[in-house]
Each structure stands twice: as structure tokens, then as C-alpha cells.
């Protein structure tokens, strides 16, 4: 598969080659592909979503193209709040588009774990989105998605942490800040992104039966049609290093 330019840009100044890596939140397998392409000795790609685990194995581990990638890749289905790896066992950690799907409580728990499994001198790359600017149409859809999630599960689906926040937050977990760069500006929320968020919002709303859930699902559908696609906001990359 092609390594997205965002991932390539986030990793291009990083010493990935030869390291044991943890890709926290494997998702579509994009960062996993980038780590392998940059010569990682081994990548543990962790996700709690079975479909994402399968997607990552298929897109990145599967034979076509990089024949040996399968040997260097382990996709683990696990909760990042309890990473199934020993202390100080990885030298490189990526969280590419992870933090925005973690509410503050989960973010705290995950950060503890990332610090635990990272060896002294390890690197951490955190790529995420700044809060969506006021007035952006996509912001309404995220609001509906969050409202549905709050009603159904008691927590938000998405939290967009400003880069300055995550910078200080990970510093608080012992990571020395090294650099920040802008990966995307504006961020292209394509029709397929918008549709995927609308689907999620509607599904989550359906978990909360009754008027409010129905109204949120309907609003999500309406917004999907109205928004189409929108390019807005910023995606950033932060790099850190553990002392030692």
C-alpha cells in the first residue's frame, strides 16, 4: 500500500530503522505501513477493534508488495489502557490520529501505558487534529456525534486536543518535547469521512432509544447531505523523546 504523505512526513525526521515499535491505535494501518516502510525491526500494532485489526493485517501484513512485512508485524487486539507488552520493551511509539478518539480519562490511562512500555531514550510521535475552527460545518456533525455518544455511553466520541495541550500533557508523562510540524492545513474531510462520521453518529444515537436518539440520528443524516465535504482545520505532528 502507499504510505500516506502525512505519515511519511511525520516520520521522515525520526530514527525508525531497526527499532521495535508500538503503533497505538492501528486503525487503517497507515502508520503501521509507514513504520515498516521506514525499516522498523518489529511493529506491534494495537487496536481494540477487530475490523481494524483485520484491515491492518490485510493492508499491511498481507503478501502483495512487501513480502517480508508479515514477519515484522504483530497486530494485537487489545485495550491500550492495558497494553499487552512488558515494561520498557519498545523504542518507538506512534499515536497517529489516536488521541481524538480518546476521552480525557482514556487519554490519561493510555499515556501511562505508553510511558510504561517505552524504553529509556524511546521516541514518541503523536499526530492529531487541532479543535475544529468555530463556524466549520463539520463541527456540527462532530457535535451531534458527541451528543449521541454522551447520551448512549456517557462520554464523548471525539475530543480534539490542541497541539499545545498534548505537548504539555505528554511532557507531564516524562516525554521531552522535540518538535512540532504541520501535517495538513487545511484538513480535507472528504465525503467518505463525513459519511463515516454520520454513520457512527446515527448508530450511536440508535443505542439511546427514544426521541432524543431519533432526532440526533436524523440530524446526522441531514448534516451528511448538507456538508458533503469540507477542508478546514489543521493536523499536527509532535515528536518527543524519553530521557535516558
Amino acid at each position: 500500500m502507499d504510505v500516506p504523505r502525512t505519515v511519511a512526513t511525520a516520520l521522515e525526521d525520526q530514527p525508525v530503522a531497526g527499532t521495535r515499535c508500538l503503533e497505538a491505535g492501528a486503525g487503517a494501518g497507515n502508520a503501521t505501513a509507514g513504520l515498516l516502510a521506514n525499516g522498523a525491526a518489529r511493529v506491534y500494532a494495537v487496536t481494540d477493534d477487530r475490523d481494524h485489526a483485520r484491515t491492518t493485517r490485510r493492508r499491511v501484513g498481507g503478501g502483495n508488495g512487501g513480502g517480508d512485512d508479515g514477519d515484522r508485524l504483530a497486530v494485537l487486539e487489545a485495550d491500550l489502557r492495558a497494553v499487552p507488552l512488558p515494561d520498557e520493551s519498545v523504542e518507538f511509539v506512534t499515536a497517529h490520529g489516536l488521541c481524538n478518539v480518546l476521552d480525557p480519562a482514556s487519554l490519561s490511562a493510555v499515556a501511562e501505558e505508553l510511558s510504561r512500555v517505552a524504553a529509556p531514550g524511546a521516541r514518541l510521535v503523536v499526530d492529531d487534529y487541532d479543535p475544529v475552527p468555530d463556524g466549520a460545518a463539520i463541527g456540527e456533525l462532530f457535535a451531534v456525534e458527541n451528543a449521541a455518544s454522551e447520551l448512549a455511553r456517557g462520554r464523548p466520541a471525539l475530543t480534539f486536543y490542541p497541539s499545545s495541550f498534548l505537548r504539555r500533557f505528554f511532557a507531564g508523562h516524562g516525554w521531552e518535547f522535540e518538535r512540532e510540524r504541520t501535517l495538513l492545513e487545511p484538513v480535507p474531510w472528504t465525503e467518505s469521512h463525513v459519511a463515516a462520521h454520520a454513520d457512527l453518529a446515527a448508530e450511536t444515537a440508535a443505542e439511546h432509544p427514544g426521541e432524543a436518539g431519533d432526532a440526533l440520528a436524523a440530524t446526522a443524516r441531514r448534516l451528511e447531505g448538507e456538508i458533503g465535504s469540507e477542508s478546514v482545520g489543521r493536523m499536527y505532528s509532535l515528536a518527543f523523546r524519553l530521557p535516558g
Binding site: D2, V3, A37, L184, E185, P186, V187, T190, S192, S229
Partner: protein
């Protein structure tokens, strides 16, 4: 309009090259107007070929009137010495001029063709004679073929002064060697060879002809172009920001003014915005790169 040195030719090309195939779709009067319009914007590099219908003939009158303001690129798909001489004579006649500034091997696709043009009886032997006789000034090559082939051509043809090849955010987002035109750009720069970009405005392929017959396509391009002014601007900016000498305008005259506007306003594109565009088309999964090899 910004100009950039076309490799070692000594000519500074406008950052937009007028793809004169657009004239083929116009009557003579409209063609004359379009040439004036393009010149008004400061475009000084024109590209034409004998395979573009009547484009050479329709370019003729205004080309002759403004000969000094126009750096003229023409091409031939002939691969033999004799064929190339015949086509060059024909193009000079049809255009009604004494010299062509840049004469290009058109649409090189296969290794055998590279062998053919570089052979004793090959097209380049004719190009070189024509150059000695002052009928052409510079030698170029165009290809939508594999980047490797263009790299080989850069190695093997010492007097090559420009290359024309596809470059757009869809192609740039692909990692396979098969799409690595960025390597061509880099190599050409090293060798001080000018670079001309095509397919900058390709949006995707047309629906199959049973869904949309060719006669019902709204644009003359053989791919579906991007057509909104903002998209055209982005695509232009992207191509120009890759470092090409010049970006060739799309083949449909309806798009030319938008491209001129974009070219006239061009003032760079920052890298985050370039990635943003690549990311967007990556999700569109545009089939254009597959279609390049036709």
C-alpha cells in the same frame, strides 16, 4: 506571469505553457482570440503537435503575427529518421514558420521506441540534422510512459533539453516506481533539463461509454478534468510547486481562462496544503494513474 529557466535552453518559460490542442475545438476566429487572450496573460511557451487535429493550422496565423513572443514546442510520434523529417517538414508548413524552438519526441511508451529513436536510422538523427540546419533549436521528449523509461532517455540522450510527463496529486501520492515521476523531476533538475507537466488537471476517468457515450462528455479531455475554479487553482499550484519549469494547460478551451488566472496568481503553495490536496485525492481513489498508460 512568473517565468522559470527551461533547463539549459537559455529560454525562460512562463510557469504555464499553453496546450494548443485547445485550438482544435474552436473555429479560426475563436482560435485567434484565444491566442491573444493567452498572450495577454504573459504566457510565452506554446505546445502543439500534428496529432491535435487542426491545432497547428489554427495556431498558424497568430503564431506568425507574434512569432517573437512565442517559444514554440512541437512534436512528432515518428520514430525513424525519415518519418521524423517528413513530419517536421509538414509541421513547419502547417504552422507556416521557419523554425520550431523545441521539437519533441512525442509520447514515448516502450523501451523499443527508445532504442529506435536513438539508433542510426532513428528520429533523433533527423532532429540533430534539423538543428544544424537551424530548423529547430532544442530537442525534447514527452511521455506518459513508465518513469523508468524517461530516466533511461535522460541517460541515453545527451542533447535532451526538456522532458514532458504527468504530475498531479494523485500520481504524487503513489509510492510505486511505476508512478515515480518525482524521480524524473529530480533527475532532470540535476541534468539541467527543463520539465513540463501534463495531467495536472486530471480528476478521474470518464464513466464507461455505455453509461456516458463519448459524444455526451462535457469536456474534450480524454479524462474527466477538475472544472471548478478553486480546484483548477489548487491543481495548478500543486504542479507548479513541485518545481516543474512549466505546467501545460488542459486540452479543453473552456478550462483555459481558469488556468490562466491560476497561473497569473501563482505564488507558491506551502507543504501542508500540498499534503492536504494529496490526502484528499488519495481518498477519492482517482483512477487516473491507471489510465495514464493507454
Amino acid at each position: 506571469m512568473e517565468t522559470r529557466p527551461l533547463g539549459g535552453t537559455g529560454h525562460d518559460s512562463s510557469v504555464m505553457t499553453f496546450g494548443a490542442i485547445a485550438l482544435n475545438w474552436l473555429e479560426q476566429e475563436g482560435a485567434n482570440q484565444l491566442v491573444e487572450h493567452v498572450l495577454d496573460y504573459g504566457v510565452n511557451h506554446f505546445d502543439v503537435a500534428p496529432t491535435y487535429g487542426d491545432a497547428e493550422l489554427k495556431l498558424g496565423p497568430k503564431l506568425r503575427q507574434h512569432r517573437e513572443e512565442i517559444f514554440l514546442g512541437c512534436k512528432t510520434q515518428e520514430r525513424t529518421y525519415e518519418g521524423a523529417w517528413r513530419k517536421l517538414d509538414r509541421s513547419l508548413n502547417r504552422l507556416g514558420v521557419d523554425t520550431i524552438d523545441l521539437y519533441q519526441v512525442h509520447g514515448l511508451e516502450y523501451d523499443e521506441e527508445l532504442d529506435a529513436i536513438t539508433g542510426d536510422d532513428g528520429a533523433l538523427a533527423a532532429f540533430r540534422e534539423a538543428k544544424e540546419q537551424g530548423l529547430i533549436d532544442h530537442i525534447g521528449l514527452t511521455s506518459h510512459g513508465q518513469p523508468d523509461l524517461i530516466l533511461d532517455a535522460l541517460e541515453r540522450i545527451d542533447d535532451l533539453e526538456s522532458v514532458m510527463f504527468p504530475l498531479n496529486p494523485v500520481v504524487a501520492g503513489k509510492d510505486d516506481d511505476e508512478y515515480d515521476y518525482e524521480a524524473v523531476l529530480a533527475r532532470a533538475d540535476e541534468r539541467d533539463v527543463g520539465t513540463l507537466g501534463i495531467k495536472a488537471f486530471a480528476g478521474g476517468s470518464w464513466p464507461p461509454t455505455d453509461e456516458l457515450p463519448e459524444a455526451d462528455r462535457p469536456f474534450a479531455n480524454w479524462y474527466r478534468p477538475v472544472t471548478a475554479p478553486d480546484e483548477i487553482r489548487e491543481r495548478f499550484d500543486f504542479a507548479a510547486a513541485q518545481g516543474l519549469t512549466s505546467v501545460v494547460s488542459a486540452g479543453d478551451p473552456k478550462l483555459v481562462t481558469m488556468i490562466l488566472e491560476a497561473a497569473a496568481d501563482y505564488d507558491g503553495m506551502d507543504e501542508a496544503a500540498q499534503r492536504s490536496l494529496m490526502e484528499r485525492v488519495r481518498h477519492d481513489d482517482s483512477p487516473v494513474p491507471e489510465q495514464l498508460h493507454h
